[in-house]
Assembly symmetry: C2
Homo-oligomer: 440 residues x 2
Amino acid sequence: MTQALRLGIAGLGTVGASVVRMVARRAEAISATAGRPVLVTAVAARDRARDRGLDLQGVTWFDDPVALARSADVDCVVELIGGAEGPARQTVEAALASGKHVVTANKALLARHGPALARAAEAAGAALAFEASAAGGIPVVKTLREALAGNRISRVYGILNGTCNYILSRMELEGLTFEACLKDAQALGYAEADPTFDVEGFDTAHKLAILTSLAFGTELDAEGVSVEGISAITPLDLRMADELGYRIKLLGVAEATEGGIEQRVHPTMVPKSSAIAQVMGVTNAVTIDTDALRELTLIGPGAGGEATASAVVADIADVAAGRTPPAFGRPVAALTAPVRAEMQQHQGGYYIRLTVHDRPGVAAGVATRMAEREISLESILQHRSESAAARDRHGRSGLPVPLVLITYAATEAAIRESLDAMAADGLLSEPPQLIRIERE
Amino acid sequence: MTQALRLGIAGLGTVGASVVRMVARRAEAISATAGRPVLVTAVAARDRARDRGLDLQGVTWFDDPVALARSADVDCVVELIGGAEGPARQTVEAALASGKHVVTANKALLARHGPALARAAEAAGAALAFEASAAGGIPVVKTLREALAGNRISRVYGILNGTCNYILSRMELEGLTFEACLKDAQALGYAEADPTFDVEGFDTAHKLAILTSLAFGTELDAEGVSVEGISAITPLDLRMADELGYRIKLLGVAEATEGGIEQRVHPTMVPKSSAIAQVMGVTNAVTIDTDALRELTLIGPGAGGEATASAVVADIADVAAGRTPPAFGRPVAALTAPVRAEMQQHQGGYYIRLTVHDRPGVAAGVATRMAEREISLESILQHRSESAAARDRHGRSGLPVPLVLITYAATEAAIRESLDAMAADGLLSEPPQLIRIERE
């Protein structure tokens, strides 16, 4: 029998424990498909006393993951510590420096140090595999890296954060506020005590930067992602979206444009009939647009111990089978420097929700400011205030009312300028809400 | 530079021509990701004079694909001839016998000779790759073979035939008959002049048998697929499905049951809210249920020259990169013998559309025959005939009317027996329509 691939698992949280169990449970199948057995020979975690319900007989325990990474009894280090610096980074660097393969689920680490780590892996002739780092259990890294060689990709976009999709789904279905849904998500364990990283879009941005590099053959550029979260989305926006035939999703979008590659994370209106609009709750989805396939969509669980472990174990099986392609699909030297498209030059439709005073001339003022910048309107929605306030002879109350505009394709710059002009004119009683529309 | 992988393309129809163009168009990307160039050095087709718009300068032409398969100037034979026997089989066998890798899109060949060809590939130390053989451009073969090592799969099901999905989508959306939609599909090139292979479910069965083997690690067993097509589906069934919250899709379903593996192809009622119900037109979709991921769904183009070529070129890139896993995921000796579950033991919900005489006692007779076999009903739908025929004092016309029943889970045997008893009782004025319901 061929020699076993010996795994060192650094980090025994939910995912680490799932990986240990899965490798044992699926030993026969992994061995048959990879052509050699896979065996956990070492683990590293801080608290040795904690009962994780794992059978660790015969497994060497390390208090220091860096020592595990250097151990002669480990062929492949599985980094599940997390964090862009500190022990996670030191462990991965030490493993690669000693010629070991690395499997990691650490998107923050990759977003910050991906290119350097890929270079180190190449120098060592070792794998750096990270299927679990983007869209959890969905095999999108493998798909982008290996299954689309014949395709020119024009866009990759998706729902990459289950917390945000859960919150937006509940806001939509139950008419609740962001704050109420966030609280529920925290109670259910879908959101962290400090939810900033998820709800402000940074987690999606890290994942998107990884997918962008794989899709376009460009060096990973996490700094180049324009990021906006969902905390400003209101129940009114979701109602308006519904009325206009859209749903609101937090999307990560990477798109090849004339001006370079756009990487953007923002709440997005998607047509209700699109595949991505059907994705509710903590589920993730990624759509890849290409010349040959037009549209390929993958839908599955984006988080959770078992789903993440599924991706980690797939990487482990690839390493065991000797399938160790370059980390980002091609050698680092063959990745091109990313050319960032300016967000101000972004072209697309916009949903704009203004809060204006319900009085004569306001609509005309708004329309003029948009026409000046050649922004065309697809629809206008105005629901008059239903309060019993005194109204003038035109039925106008003078109170703040929402005015919703859907534009045809316009540049972000033109939209921003027109809104600034409206504000300077005193037309707006509150800052405007702006949500980009993404077409299929 | 590493030596190029030299391709011999056998068959220059739509797919073959797309492959030749794609390999040229994507030469740089394929070379960068695979680690070596890929080059078409030989082609074989019957009609040399035909203008295919291809640049074949410097490419050796073979009239006989078997001679191409034996050529010393070819490392990898791409079989795109089609058919389970004859030149396609001879070409693949000759290629493997002379130690060459084989990439094929030929599901009929695999369905009939897959295990023997996989054995030949193993003996030769060569790849036998067939991503394009199931679900066209969707990378489901790679996903099942490489991305789910940690998962125990319980079910794989999907829309695997674009022709049938196109016909059913149009029947539903426009209220048309099967015959009318088939005619349109033929005019648009979505269906063959002899449509039997597609509409009677045999194409889906071939694809399903391939997916079953990959999902369950069993030797391919195309003979074990229970097959039923869509030609008996009526506009009335689609209207009833809609009213009951379902859509009708031709599904291929492979499921691990206590009695063995069920492989079945049949028109299926799926809940309107399911991901698979959203898939309209010629698009394909596959859902994989597993212990760790619960549900993973892949949606994309199932046919067409470019989409099929995308899958073929992905296989070529894998071969070039040295990623040559066993054809069916594990060595042939490690595949288990398939244990067929009896279709009569299939457990599930059923839609049953009876045509009964509109007279007293009929509903009671039907209900009795079902109760005898402990079949419980979830819903009953009866739309009285709207004709102006004379009615008795209960408003009954005595004419044939449809009576639609939705059952809770029951065995196929119990359902069939109860229908036979109703027929023997003289309750049915036409043979019953029976459509299985598939739950998410």
